[in-house]
């Protein structure tokens, strides 16, 4: 019987996915579990697996198509079979897509093969499983010699339904995920525990910003509190706090920082922003100062690739991708979601993305990919009323830009008459192993020019 391949539902709120690539074409032979297509949702790309062995047929969508979840995208056929000629828009037969069999790039395949040789299922149970589009080999049978019975299938389906949208994880895994800002949803069902339960080790290995666990040097030889002082609270150095501590200490100790400052007139940029916001279409987002700065920084990075780089002991690597991390304060720490390819996005896209990332950062819903791949970081303490400050480079990057608040100042014009100007102080922290002062200065000058002539770079 032709086996339907449906667009899987990866996340609870996900409604559609884009087909990024077909790894198999009509007529290709597949084994069960072979990846057949790459699809994307948000920033995560996932592979769709063949639900059983056979021949791919009836591919219904082309690369770039956006397909609602649970729609049939192709079939696995047995020799001699033809793909059914149904309406491409018809949803797959089951109402609710079960947890889709997907693999992440790194996730190990569950070793289903071991038990498959001994797998046995009663005919009526097989038919029911087919009707419900359940992979019966996942079910542990209670019948004679472990045969899967009809009741086993019914129980499995009920459990599946009850578990939709719930995450099967141990308390320790949940705690670590929360501390590290890891979303458990993509791992759901693929943990190493029983029934795919996510365990602590699964979260640790899935961690994006996983730095090799290094001991942190004691600040003072005595580990305890200072004798004679009353302790108000002790904050254990775990989770996000520990990661920040490790990264910042490593950066400060290993990367020789140099600091360059420039005060940039923001009147022109502000004028442009206000104009854009006045004329925006109703449901478009407002363009923020941060968005302007991200855009200008992306442009300046493009002119100065040495800033957009990474130091290693053998070489310096300049990146073509301009992925700008935005340091985002949380109640219990700091997280740096990334705007990928910021140089190729317009102000509207950047504003939208900034809003989305900030909101998801605060609600702990960032995906691993949101945090990965940053090549440069912006830290803006302007909203906290800070005029200017220096930041610590976010390893393995080579530089970070510290942004202060917009101030009004009087400056002399060409006739030495005072004029009122809006200014923002920018401080670049740069790794002197990677670049020299003149290169860092060139970047800052380009940044300044781009903000003075924002209209030009937006063309």
């Amino acid at each position: 019987m032709a086996k339907e391949i449906i667009m899987p539902k990866f996340g609870f709120t996900q409604e559609e996915s884009e087909i990024l690539e077909w790894l198999k074409q009509d007529g290709d032979k597949v084994d069960k579990g072979d990846p057949i297509a790459v699809v994307s949702t948000d920033k995560i790309s996932m592979e769709v697996e063949a639900p059983e062995a056979g021949i791919i047929g009836g591919i219904r969508y082309k690369v770039g198509d956006i397909v609602p979840v649970t729609r049939i995208i192709a079939y696995v056929l047995q020799p001699g079979e033809k793909a059914p000629e149904t309406d491409a828009a018809a949803p797959a037969s089951q109402a609710e897509a079960p947890a889709a069999p997907v693999v992440e790039e790194k996730a190990a395949q569950p070793a289903a093969a071991a038990s498959s040789s001994a797998f046995s299922i009663s005919p009526v149970a097989q038919r029911l499983a087919d009707d419900l589009n359940i992979d019966a080999s996942q079910i542990s049978g209670t019948g004679r010699d472990g045969q899967v019975t009809k009741k086993d299938v019914e129980d499995f389906a009920a459990a599946l339904k009850a578990g939709v949208g719930k995450i099967n994880a141990t308390p320790a895994a949940r705690r670590i995920a929360q501390e590290k800002g890891v979303n458990l949803q993509p791992l759901n069902g693929s943990g190493s525990g029983p029934s795919g339960r996510i365990q602590a080790a699964d979260v640790s290995s899935a961690r994006v910003s996983a730095p090799a666990a290094q001991p942190i040097m004691a600040a003072a030889p005595g580990m305890g509190a200072i004798p004679g002082l009353t302790v108000l609270k002790e904050i254990p150095l775990v989770g996000m706090r520990r990661t920040i501590a490790q990264n910042m200490q490593r950066s400060m100790q290993q990367a020789p920082h140099m600091f360059l400052q420039v005060d940039v007139e923001m009147d022109a940029a502000e004028g442009l922003r206000k104009l854009a916001n006045q004329n925006k279409v109703a449901d478009a987002p407002k363009i923020s100062v941060t968005a302007l700065i991200v855009k200008a920084v992306a442009w300046a990075l493009k002119q100065n690739p040495i800033i957009n780089s990474q130091y290693t002991d053998e070489k310096i690597i300049e990146y073509a991708d301009i992925n700008i991390g935005i340091a985002t304060a949380l109640d219990n720490g700091l997280i740096v979601p990334v705007i990928h390819n910021a140089d190729s996005k317009d102000l509207l896209e950047i504003s939208l993305e900034l809003g989305d990332l900030a909101q998801r950062a605060r609600s702990n819903k960032l995906q691993p990919d949101d945090l990965a791949g940053g090549t440069f970081t912006i830290s803006n303490l302007g909203m906290f009323g800070i005029d200017r400050f220096t930041a610590i480079i976010n390893p393995p990057q080579s530089a970070i830009l510290a942004v202060g608040k917009m101030n009004k100042v009087f400056v002399p014009d060409e006739n030495d008459q005072p004029v009122l100007q809006r200014q923002v102080a920018f401080t670049l922290s740069a790794d002197h192993r990677v670049m020299d002062g003149s290169q860092a200065a060139k970047f800052l000058t380009d940044l300044k020019d781009s903000l003075l002539n924002l209209g030009e770079i937006l063309k």
Binding site: T170, P171, A172, A173, R175, G193, P194, A200
Partner: protein
Amino acid sequence: MRELSYMEALREAMRQAMQKDDRVFLIGEDIGIYGGAFGVSAGLLDEFGPKRIIDTPISEAGIAGACIGAAVTGMRPIGEMQFSDFVVIAMEQLVMQGAKMRFMFGGKAEVPFVMRLAGGSGTGAAAQHSESLENWFVHVPGLKVVMPSSPYDAKGLLLAAIEDNNPIMFFEHKALYKTKGPVPEKMYTIPLGQSHVVREGKDLTVVATSIMVSRALEAAEQLSKEGIELEIIDPRTLKPLDEKPIIESVIKTGKALIVHEAVKTGGFGGELTAVIMESEAFGYLDAPVKRLAGLDTPIPYNRNLEYHAVPQVENIVEEARKLVKGQY
């Protein structure tokens, strides 16, 4: 240090308490001339005479009642249930009277007695002589419940129990009586309500009581060869329970296995599980808390069936290994 058996350690504790304090006396069935059903009190009749080593008829309610009456009138009795199963006859005295007197008399009465009970299976004595009933008494406010697992603990805990001004249910294990271990000659006490980390390890917290402590230790030695390190905690007193070392250990290991001989349903393991789940250790659990306990059956007479009715070393090894590997 000199080695004594569990039984000798208990006898020495009673002898030293009686030498030191003439308010202490012993009362029970066959404890005098016969020396006790298991020989724990052998020789004490010769040393202290029939006024302090009192043989009774088969009358458990009477033994308990005599202990309570003597205790409230200034003595420090030690009663013995030669099989803990027989305590059912004495329940009214122990639970209804002894446990409540201090409270119902507004603190004006103290009830300082120790009821020693020989519990546990392994002797082929079948369903009415092999039970582990400690959790019944854990459920009764006013009673303390003690379960020594080694000769050292047996002496120190019994001396602490005799000194305590409350009714104490002191559960000994028949199969431990002949096991040996180091025991100091001098009098010493182990405070009631102090858990003991018997073995340190990083992979799994095993909370075991009574004879299960030595079985857990044996399991730990086997698993150590596989690179699995068990941390073993003996609560020693089930009530009052010293929770802190257990919670701290579970925070460290992220996993807990509770092992006791008493039947699983309604056993102390359920209480321990709840203690862990309600504590800050919850957020550190990386697997469900598991209980390994006696089967829900009266202890069979058949020796093979008896063996399999309660946790053995190999069961602990298997359960612990599965938990540590996340294949529970």
